[in-house]
């Protein structure tokens, strides 16, 4: 599963770390002072490392709960994100993480207790409802068997009912959700691209069919689910492909119990895009013409496909269920 486990001195004696080291005793365990010694070094190659990533167990300091970027999520109060993990076990070619980090190793911040106390502080400081996104710098559910993220954080949000937790994922690892009573303030938001795009760009990701099945199971168990159609990557059959995807999904998902659906185009900061072009000079997606606006790279949408796609989606869902991810 990992090529090695690096352990920050600071967390050596942490119970969560001891448990993981015992569980993965056959993998080399390597001590380090700070995770940056391994993760942030110059001269690494993300693409090569992705073939045999290591796990780094570390402690996160400072602001652990941050305001989410403008337009990241749905309306409903102040929104924040927190990242207990950096990097993802999947290998989606379009992912901005490839351009954001120098290393493909997974960093798991094990000081969940500190995250909890900052989340609690933030909830208490909010006047009204607040939203907390997990899965911005990783896929929270995909690593669940190792991270036990849900085991820890669902009880936190079960106490704070004015706060909403969105777990953004492409994973089918939902046992930890199905084993417990659904939380009305927790949303499992599944990301999708069209079938063609998924086959082409989403490596190691569960199939669309399996993801839909899992959403169905979650809905049947009483969990709120949401749909995130992003990133939209233009191709000649875009509308037709998404029409097919929407049909497949909405044939199985109960729309009345759908929290929300969103569409977001392919986008990332210019510096990340530049890094990814160097990493994948042979990749068609990064050879395409781009436009840069306010430091953000997007692909050129010559036919206003995004608007047309929204119109198709709105045939299936209510307008109040939809938002466009900026």
């Amino acid at each position: 599963m990992f090529s090695a486990i690096y352990i920050e001195d600071e967390v050596r004696e942490h119970d969560r770390v001891k448990e993981l080291l015992e569980r993965f005793s056959s993998i080399p365990h390597i001590d380090c002072q700070r995770y940056g010694e391994v993760f942030n070094r110059k001269g690494q190659n993300f693409r090569i490392q992705k073939k045999s990533p290591a796990l780094i167990l570390a402690k996160k300091y400072g602001n652990l709960v941050l305001p989410s970027p403008d337009g990241y999520g749905f309306d409903g109060g102040k929104s924040y994100y927190f990242s207990h993990m950096l990097n993802c076990i999947y290998d989606c070619r379009y992912c901005f993480l490839q351009g954001m980090y120098r290393s493909a190793n997974y960093v798991l911040f094990v000081n969940y207790e500190d995250f909890e106390s900052q989340i609690t502080e933030s909830i208490k400081a909010s006047d009204g409802p607040s939203i907390y996104y997990s899965g911005y710098d990783c896929d929270s559910l995909a690593f669940e068997p190792v991270s036990k993220f849900c085991d820890y954080f669902l009880p936190v949000f079960s106490i704070h009912t004015s706060a909403v937790l969105e777990i953004r994922t492409k994973s089918t690892q939902v046992r930890s959700l199905l084993d417990v009573k659904p939380l009305p303030n927790c949303i499992v938001a599944m990301s999708f691209t069209s079938d063609g795009a998924s086959l082409r760009y989403e490596h190691k990701v569960p199939t669309i069919r399996k993801r839909i099945e899992v959403l169905q199971k979650l809905q049947q168990a009483g969990w709120l689910v949401a749909l995130r159609f992003e990133p939209i990557i233009w191709d000649s059959n875009l509308l037709e492909n998404y029409h097919k995807l929407f049909t497949e999904i909405f044939h199985r998902i109960d729309i009345d119990f759908l929290h929300s659906a969103s569409i977001g185009e392919f986008r990332m900061p210019t510096s990340f895009h530049k890094n990814i072009v160097k990493l994948y000079p042979d990749e068609e997606l990064f050879a395409r013409e781009i436009q840069i606006d306010n430091g953000l790279v997007t692909l050129i949408d010559k036919e206003d496909s995004l608007r047309q796609l929204e119109q198709i989606l709105l045939r299936y869902i209510k307008p109040e269920q939809y938002y466009r991810c900026a």
């Binding site: 090695a4 690096y6 390597i30 001590d31 070094r41 090569i48 000079p281 068609e284 050879a287 395409r288």
Partner: protein, 284 residues
Amino acid sequence: MVSLQNINLVFAHKFEAQAALDFFSLEIVDNREFKIYQNSSGMQAVVTGMGFENAKSATAKLGERALEIGMKNGLNMGVAARAWLNIGIGGHPEADIGSGFLASKIIHRNSGDTQFPAPVLTGVEKAAIVTVDKPELGYPENAVYEMEAAGFWASAIEYTSLEFVQVLKIVSDNKKQSIDTVTKELVVDLIKEKLETISDCCAQLQSLVNEYNNAYSLDVASLEIIKSCLESYHFTVTQKIQLKRLVQRYSAIHLFAQLRKIVELTFSSSNELIGELSKYLSRQ
């Protein structure tokens, strides 16, 4: 045996090198400052002499040499990456004589600097390596003690991505069998017994480097197009980079036939050619 054309081996002493030089048919090609070896497939090796500084200088020397050869063979459009393996003996408190360890970290005792080779190789146990200035007789930590790995690392990472820089140490002494028992014959034998492991590490590195080079090097057809452009027009360094990226983009988008057509046209300058190549892509 698989071709190991992109592998650089670094040894401190000729007795550490001897068995591997024979095994890989490496022959001396430079006998001046450091002894440098090469075989017909392109694998190279250097014998550095003892200690951090020698290891650092000799590794840099081999790096420069490999770079020069790469430049001569290409069009100055990026040199094929090479992987580096430092092979040598070392002392360990507990491990059996003849045990092999890949470095999980390299601690330079003198400076306190610590480096972490990427764990990309499998099949060999990992251990911390401590580079010391004088032989360590007390073996205070659970690590392999030796005198060159940190110097080797400091130079090798200047020439390649750090995943391709690895250190393999074979235990020659421990608490039960002190360093005094280490003879030239023992060193030669220890390395000889580990040739299969060395060969396997080289093969794994070569395979990774092949993937890397396939991803980042231009294919023959692209190089030919660039060559013809460079022969027809004058390009500045920046323009060469632009041209390379444009050729990569045409190739990635499967517009190579169109690229050929455009390149065959006549332009007044390299600037005009680059402009036309860019314009065509923007219309796609």
